[in-house]
């Protein structure tokens, strides 16, 4: 059976460039670090104060002073640095994060992002998402294409925005979609999807790239 989350995470990892500073949100984005291709090195930044986050520590090696932004035990790699929050968000807000990868409740064809609150539901708060998407050089939304059968890729977001016009790329289990000045452009398609099938579960109209490719499934 297809592991949707890891399929998406893996495709996101291919989108990263060697040397990128990346911030990975919770959920699917947090899996991206496991899929970075050999020969590429990316530097994972956590907004709670690490540049150069490493893998989870071995059992017995946990250090309660070294946690990730979700409070899970983590490690720092050789060549890393710890920051206080003014420093950590200085790095984020100064535009030094090359790619931020995060989930979304809704994204629309103008790159508007809504990922913090569903009206009528419990308020969650916003954490560092607004800082990250407003200031990172590239914003990748990594998410399942729909939620409970409802479209998440919209003509216009109906939920309150995290930030307007910030999303560059949307990666789902169906395809890779670029947000361009002319709207959404399907750049890659999953082997199990069709253009018509994707359009049927996408509220915004999709253009198809002249150079449409298959998402590699390895």
């Amino acid at each position: 059976m297809l592991d949707v989350k890891n399929f998406i995470a893996k495709r996101v990892a291919y989108e990263l460039n060697d040397g990128d500073v990346v911030n990975l949100g919770i959920g699917i984005p947090s899996l991206v670090a496991n899929h970075v291709p050999k020969g590429k090195r990316v530097f994972v930044q956590t907004e709670n104060g690490i540049l150069g986050q490493g893998p989870a520590p071995a059992t017995g090696q946990e250090d309660k002073a070294i946690l990730d932004a979700s409070s899970a035990f983590t490690t720092v790699l050789p060549g890393g640095k710890f920051y206080d929050s003014a420093g950590s968000f200085g790095l984020i807000r100064g535009g030094h994060v090359d790619v931020t990868v995060l989930g979304a409740l809704q994204v629309d064809e103008r790159g508007n992002l809504a990922n913090w609150h569903i009206p009528g539901k419990m308020l969650v708060g916003i954490g560092g998402a607004m800082d990250l998407v407003t200031c990172a050089k590239k914003v990748i939304v990594a998410m399942e294409h729909t939620a409970g059968g409802k479209a998440k890729i919209m003509k216009k977001c109906t939920y309150p925005l995290t930030a307007p016009g910030v999303v560059d790329v949307i990666i789902t289990e169906m395809g890779v979609i670029d947000v361009t000045e002319k709207g959404l452009v399907l750049r890659e398609i999953a082997p199990w999807a069709t253009v018509e099938g994707i359009q049927a579960i996408t509220e915004a109209p999709l253009k198809v790239s002249d150079n449409l490719k298959d998402i590699p499934t390895i």
Binding site: D68, V76, D84, F89, L123, V124, M130
Partner: protein, 214 residues
């Protein structure tokens, strides 16, 4: 100059109606000080902390000690959600980086600064906008407090604090922005026991030190 005190003495400085900054990000909250605060008589506090989700904040709010909150994250705290539903003005939600920068500004004598973060969202409500290099920005102001409560890995007797790894977070900046700072430290060492290159918070911002577990 030895600032080590009992928990009770350290907390006795906090008054009704005080604004209290609390360090911590996910973990590294000063749980002993928050428990101690629960046992005091003070109330009508304004709490400034990154997240309200920890049990310690839920308990403090259930005890009716908190009248308003400035934070970035509410998840896990039904009391703050009810407070927000009853009186939206009592709960201020701000972006985490703006939160960090406003606290730093409070300690560094910067009354206001501009940031593009929050433009086009609920954050911009009631805020002044201004354009820099064609980019809309919001005017954000300094945050200050009567009291800061922070957790340190190591403190010396004067109050110099070493905060290891990811425990620095907001607690590193809050003491400079607060009139009175109480530190809970896992370990207390003699003055000179912390390398001058590794002091996260200098003693001049610290007023009382409590040893965790005592």
């Amino acid at each position: 100059m030895n600032k080590q005190k009992s928990l009770k003495d350290a907390l006795s400085h906090i008054k009704n109606g005080d604004t209290v900054m609390v360090g911590g990000f996910g973990a590294s909250y000063p749980f002993m000080l928050l428990e101690g605060l629960l046992a005091t008589d003070v109330g009508e506090l304004t709490i400034i902390a990154n997240s309200m989700g920890h049990e310690a904040f839920v308990t403090l709010m259930e005890a009716g000690k908190v009248s308003s909150v400035i934070t970035t994250f509410l998840k896990g705290n039904p009391v703050v959600l009810k407070m927000y539903a009853d009186n939206p003005d009592s709960v201020t939600i701000i972006p985490q980086g703006t939160f960090a920068e406003r606290i730093r500004a409070g300690g560094a004598g910067i009354p206001g600064f501009y940031t593009p973060v929050g433009v086009g969202t609920f954050v911009e409500e009631k805020k002044e906008k201004r354009t820099f290099a064609d980019k809309d920005c919001l005017l954000e102001t300094a945050l200050k407090a009567d009291v800061a409560l922070i957790h340190a890995s190591v403190a010396d007797k004067w109050g110099n604090c070493l905060m290891r790894g990811t425990t620095k977070n907001f607690g590193a900046m809050m003491p400079a922005a607060a009139d009175y700072t109480i530190v809970e430290a896992e370990e207390i060492v003699p003055v000179g026991g912390i390398d001058p290159e590794l002091v996260t918070v200098p003693h001049i911002h610290v007023d009382a030190i409590v040893k965790v577990g005592e």
